[in-house]
Amino acid sequence: MWEVVQHVFAQAWQQFTAQSLALLPNVLVGLLFLAIGTALAVLAGRVAKFLLRRSAVERRANKIGLSSWLERAGILSATAVLVRLVQVAFAIMTAALVMYSLDAALASDLTKRFFFYLPNLVIGVTIFFAGIVAARVVSRSVLIGAVNRGFPAARLLASAARGGIVLLSSAVALEHLGIGRTIVPSAMLILLAGVTFALALAVGLGSRDLVGRWIRDQMSPPTPAEVDEIQHW
């Protein structure tokens, strides 16, 4: 019995080492590609940054009003975005090269699948990130606006706005990626229905007076005694 175990173990080890040794050059080449790709991505980023600064992209973006639009979306530098895009392109190429060096057949298959799936992926990721950016912008605006209007639950409101937008954009992105085509919308509906039902119960049963008073407080203008007559300029 012990001899059989020893034999199986030796055979497995032999196969493992043989295959590992056979794969070692590919791994080394893959690591080399990874190192070169990383270095090239960093270098390309620096070159792109230098060239973009020299061509005064920020000033041009500012001039045509693009900067203020990007600012509203939480993007503070057009140059930084373009540099990042160049680096991402290098990273994708490096990843493809590393995969090809490890297993050409598998890489070819994955590449094919990747390109087949790419449009959905691009749209899904774009929707998700657009949602993140929109959520950030909206929640900040809601927070500032609510504080300046004297709304007591400003942070709660801002968080709700952000959460709602992120949730919605995630659901739409997943839908585009073909993940949980029925589960995600159903979950969203259940969640929405649950929140609505809970609010309806709260208003209808226990908290009608409380909610009414709260809404009145939020909506009613300040009494004359509270109004300032200062002309700020």
Binding site: E71, G74, L143, N148, G150, A225, V227, D228, Q231, H232
Partner: protein, 423 residues
Amino acid sequence: MSAPEILRPEVLARLRGLGHADIVVGIPSYQNAATIGHVVQAAQTGLAKYFPGSHSVVLNSDGGSTDGTPDVVANTSGPDADVVLVSHPMRPIQRLSVPYHGLPGKGSAFRTIFRAAELLGAKACAVADADLRSITPEWIHLLVAPVVNQGFDYVAPYYHRHKFDGTITNNVVYPVTRALYGRQIRQPIGGDFGVSRALVQHYLGLPVWESDVARYGIDIWMTTEAICGGFSLCQAFLGAKLHDPKDPAADLSAMLVQVLGTVFRLMETHAERWHAVHGSEPVPIVGFRYDVGLDPIKVNPARMIDHFRRGVRDLESIWQTMFERADMNRLRDAASKTVGGFAIDDTLWAHLVYALAGAHHRRVSERDALVRSTLPLYMGRVASFVTEMADADAGQVEARLERLCVVFEQEKDYLRARWSDGD
């Protein structure tokens, strides 16, 4: 290639029909039917009384009012000779009401007035707000005479106001403008002023008329350009400034964005100049100074302090991107005080304003959002000022503001450091 004509052909034809004018008084307006008649009458009377031998034009530049503002201008009667007491024949004063074109806003109205003054070859141009209730014929004299008789290029207004009015001017715009450019113009965003022909041409030649300045911020832009252009400046004491009350529901944060946004953008345009300025020098005041009785106004510091506290509680994440840790700690400390002990001192206030300017310049976040987020700070500062000056008279308030301005000048190195942070 010459610049495209901004005036409509029919307006051009009317101005060419007038030929020449020595003085143009411009009145920008939008929905001011209730008050503009008084302003037009004061302007006409002032011109007749103080400049009887001059060819004068009163020009209303209207932004498309639907309340009959242009009709009021057209139907306002001329000056009564018995009231004006002219001692020699008076030249007729022409009166025009023209719509302005371009971006909606006061800047476009000014552009039309300046272009008309340039076309008419006017030696001096005065502008008065259409919502003024306290304007008198003497205002026209005080705004025009320094240009015509003394060779000044820019006459800024100098008003008596209630000690708690004009808080954004007193606590932000005046101290900042003075510290930046080194000239003590007390009302840098007053809406009434006089300018020379040279300055009119300078303004018209600057590439701002299609920008946000044309929508808002024109007043501080004019003052800043007059200083930075090296023009000779003076101030005219006009007495009390009373105008139609502003809409109490108007969004104060939007107004803050308009004024401060323009101040900060101008800092970028003139960065080299203000970096080199140290201290400040007075600007001469013309006109007889007298005290004015002003009605008391209601102020509620407790509500402002509440607003400040909400800001400290909820906007910390935004403020941390602009302000230093020590200043954030001092804000938290101020928020914990009772109404009686509440204060935002001058040095902290100067740091906050300068840090905001630096953050705006470095675009640490969306610029308008940064400025909007500081409304609670402004309210806190106003509350602090109101509490401190509750029993002070006008002279004491002026002395207090002088001390604030000196602090802004002393802390200018802090601004220089924050401006170039991370460069």
